[in-house]
């Protein structure tokens, strides 16, 4: 069997980047599972997980972060998926398709405001939004007014970072 070596998405890029009151750094790779509830299964899924995010919601559950990720779709960050969940939702392992950046500091919100076509200041905390950075799809998670996570398609990591770099 071939042994594959995990490689961080931003390894070749010099991080962290600082400037404009913001520090941009790579987030450790996460186990990400897309949860798409089957027809009529939302309530059962809700009961099994202890919640399911409404549009824009982020739920911190037992060992699992559930992030709204689109219409009738949530991303589960973490390993602790309850057994039997596959009866209620289509599960897709997204882990190596995404790369995460953290943006922290008093300038983070303004930096994102210049680059995203929606008003980041109106995001709930914690809260999630899908949008485009340039032409690239992103998942924005607000953890504080000066603390954001930006999840992006791994193949576009260098391009996103280029767009974000505050100088």
């Amino acid at each position: 069997m071939i042994e594959l070596t995990p490689a961080p998405a931003f390894a070749a890029l010099s991080l962290p980047v600082t400037g404009a009151g913001t520090r941009i750094d790579a987030l450790p790779p996460a186990r990400i599972t897309a949860l798409a509830p089957y027809c009529g299964q939302l309530q059962a899924l809700h009961a099994l997980l202890g919640g399911f995010p409404e549009p824009g919601q982020v739920l911190e559950l037992d060992g699992l972060r559930l992030v709204w990720a689109g219409r009738d779709l949530a991303f589960a960050f973490g390993e602790a998926l309850p057994t039997g969940i596959e009866a209620h939702a289509a599960l897709t392992d997204q882990s190596d398709g995404w790369a995460g950046l953290s943006l922290t500091g008093p300038g983070a919100e303004a930096l994102l405001a210049r680059r995203l076509p929606f008003d980041v200041r109106r995001m709930a905390v914690p809260g999630a939004a899908r949008s485009l950075l340039g032409h690239m799809p992103v998942l924005v998670i607000a953890l504080g007014r000066d603390e954001f996570e930006l999840w992006l398609w791994r193949s576009m990591a260098a391009c996103v970072l280029h767009h974000l770099t505050p100088v």
Binding site: G70, R71, L73, P117, F118, R122, A129, S131, L132, P137
Partner: protein, 85 residues
Amino acid sequence: MRLICPCCGWRDRREFTYMGADDYLHRPVPDAPPEAWDEYLHNRTNPAGAARDLWYHDPCGTWVCITRDTITHAVTDGTRLEDAQ
């Protein structure tokens, strides 16, 4: 121009893909006469004033029926397609 997505709220037009008039919601039955299919596929009213059309919100994957005014450019409503039919 900003449109409203029922999931995401007011969003910039660049996040959306345009489909066409809401006539697409009223697909004829398979054995409808050719005139009905001709009407469905080709004929549009091109209204001055209230218009309803279909847009796709790319980031979240929601099809939206937008109500807007072609004279004033006011956008007044965005409804999920399954609720608009």
